[in-house]
């Protein structure tokens, strides 16, 4: 069983390190995106506001600007780093346009208009008045790497990541079983003892966040389980993972399961309320949206309105749909409330039946995504993810150190050198790649064609450079030293680069109280400092053993 732990860990360690690091960045995806779009305005300390009052103001604006519209939408921000709402409406097609529309497939849909709405101040801006931001995939791009990888098809990526995740799940379970003295060892740390220290560190890191690791690997398998375990679905519904519509209308998908069973579909579908046909009903005043918002907040909690859609405002058949800002862990299963737009009565269809297994699946997915997490818990997610990176890194280094001692005297075997090179290239190369992703964001011209793609290319090019260094520079300890210093410098200089290229740097963001932007720069400094300490440790060991024919590697680092 110990054998199982060692080898499963080694085979997939590098991919998992990549998955863990990019996935961990995903917990701050929206914050990272804000930093990567420095053109966006500084977010002064957000004034608290009442959603109900904001909805009232939005209704007044829509009444004034879009009295003849066929549909209104009020969309609160789902983005933690963005407070503006969107107000939009669709005007009915112009009389002449109707014939043209029926003749060709080009439906007159371009009659939608939108405004940016500040829910606190209550004023609106034209989208054209907002500063144009540079093209970037931002934090979402990093987050997507953790299951979509890059340069390969999504389907292959899902299978590769799933395979590695399953082996990690095995490595964790067999690690626990192997480790009879797990709690005694947890309190054991023997620093400065080479292999012993690395083993202790691996144990401490692994056990500290063990519940998180178990949760994150198991729930990670659940997202695409139909791709990994297609047999049951084949038997039950006669379909495989390649269901039309690319998986989203899949019987196992928690978000769109209702079309497979009659009992679930009974409530009627969303498209029914979203008909594009203009209303023929007589005029009737629209009810007060603010009081409906108050009712929705009473059911869902404050700030839980994710969207409001008004169909046929000002007509007798007006319908108002409130959409729940779903954070995944809410007890309330109702995702929408449908109101009669004239009387204000709740005319929602009965909610879908949702059994225990669906709830289990929803909770697993919610725990993985952590959308419900407030600032404190979000940092805890982030730190747990970093501990995951540390667990994998210490495990991989431990593998080389154990074998390094056996290889003393003899030349390095090919497989040993391969593992060593992969360790340096990934463990130090990926952090450099992430830093390069941010550097590219500041250095590539803002108006450059395909600049988002080049941000990714920069990430992988930086990683490739470290791989090359790991191959060329001998002994491995020197390669480690160079690589770690480069990573440290890349992170430490990032706030400086930010100051040179933008006016969103610490000297501006800290006085302005914009802690999302300031927090990013400060976190980069902390990463830089951490890697500098690691690099210093490598060097000090090198200095204490000058000229001796000691084996290279990080063996005696700690």
């Amino acid at each position: 069983m110990a054998w199982l732990h060692t080898w499963t860990g080694l085979v997939v360690g590098w991919v998992l390190y990549f998955v863990f690091m990019t996935g961990t960045a995903g917990y701050f995806d929206e914050e990272i995106t804000r930093w990567m779009q420095p053109e966006a305005p500084l977010a002064a300390t957000a004034a608290p506001f009442s959603s109900v009052e904001a909805v009232a103001k939005a209704q007044a604006i829509l009444r004034e600007k879009a009295p003849a519209a066929d549909r209104w939408s009020i969309d609160p921000s789902w983005d933690r780093a963005e407070r503006h709402w969107i107000i939009s409406w669709a005007n009915p097609p112009e009389p002449g346009a109707k014939d043209a529309a029926s003749a060709g497939e080009d439906r007159p849909r371009n009659r939608r208009e939108r405004l940016i709405f500040d829910p606190a101040a209550g004023d609106v801006h034209l989208p054209a008045d907002m500063p144009e931001v540079r093209e970037t995939d931002g934090g979402l791009g990093l987050y997507r790497l953790h299951y979509h990888l890059h340069y390969i098809s999504e389907h292959s990526a899902i299978l590769i990541v799933g395979f590695c995740t399953m082996l990690m799940f095995l490595a964790i379970l067999s690690g626990v079983v192997t480790h009879k003295k797990i709690f005694k060892d947890f309190f054991t740390f023997r620093p400065g003892k080479g292999q012993r220290s690395w083993l202790d560190m691996h144990n401490i890191v692994s056990v500290t966040a063990l519940p998180f690791f178990l949760m994150i690997t198991y729930s990670g398998l659940i997202f695409f389980m139909y791709a990994y375990m297609p047999a049951t679905m084949k038997v039950a519904y006669g379909v495989e993972h390649s269901w039309p519509n690319d998986g989203y209308s899949n019987p196992l998908n928690p978000r769109t399961n209702n079309r497979f069973d009659g009992a679930r579909a009974a409530g009627g579908s969303r498209s029914e309320h979203m008909s594009e046909e203009p209303s023929a009903a007589p005029p009737a005043p629209l009810t007060n949206l603010a009081s409906l918002a108050a009712e929705a907040e009473r059911q869902w909690g404050e700030g839980a309105i994710g969207g409001i859609s008004v169909l046929h405002p000002g007509r007798a058949d007006a319908r108002v749909t409130f959409i729940f800002l779903d954070n995944g862990l809410a007890r309330n299963a109702r995702k929408q409330i449908l109101f009669d737009g004239v009387t204000g009565a709740d005319i929602s269809p009965p909610p879908f039946r949702q059994g225990t297994t669906w709830k289990v699946q929803n909770v697993l997915i919610a725990l993985h995504e952590g959308l419900f997490a407030g600032p404190l818990l979000r940092w805890l997610y982030f730190l747990s993810g970093l501990l995951g990176c540390a667990m994998i890194a210490t495990g991989l280094i431990l593998w080389t150190i154990k074998r390094r001692q056996k290889q003393r005297g003899a030349g390095d075997s090919v497989s040993f050198r391969l593992v060593e090179t992969l360790n340096i290239g990934t463990l130090a190369g990926l952090p450099l790649g992430v830093a390069a992703y941010f550097w590219a964001n500041r250095l590539l011209p803002a108006a450059m064609e395909g600049r988002a793609a080049w941000e990714y290319h920069s990430l992988f090019a930086a990683m490739g450079a470290i791989f090359l260094a790991a191959v060329l520079i001998r002994p491995a300890r020197r390669a480690w030293s160079y690589a770690l210093w480069t990573v440290a410098a890349a992170f430490l200089l990032l706030p400086l680069l930010n100051a040179v290229t933008t006016d969103r740097h610490l000297a501006v963001t800290v006085p302005a109280g914009d802690w999302v932007l300031a927090g990013f720069d400060l976190t980069m400094l902390a990463f830089g400092a951490t890697f500098a300490v690691a690099a210093l440790k490598v060097r000090s060991k090198e200095a204490t053993a000058p000229g001796r024919a000691r084996p290279s590697g990080m063996a005696e680092v700690a």
Binding site: Y226, M229, W358
Partner: protein, 100 residues
Amino acid sequence: MKADMQRRLAVTSRIIAGAVGGYALTSLIAIALLLVLQRLGMAKDEALLAPTLGSFVIYAVIVMTVFHARSATRAWLGLIGVSVPIALLVAILMQAGGGA
């Protein structure tokens, strides 16, 4: 040298038993659970979801058992010994209708 070769063969056999044999057995158990749960009156979508959610734990337990077994041969015998009755159960349930 011969012993080394034998050891390698045994390890390879065990890996295949765990990865491939274990996966097949997991799928079989999940299908059996699906059919049994449906028989017991659980709605089809839930009867599908429950064993699929559980399958990863089942797989992990099977692989660990395979690696814990005294020899690769015993691991294979165990896998086959468990698979046969479950396959029979699945065949009977699907024959009796109520399957797909």
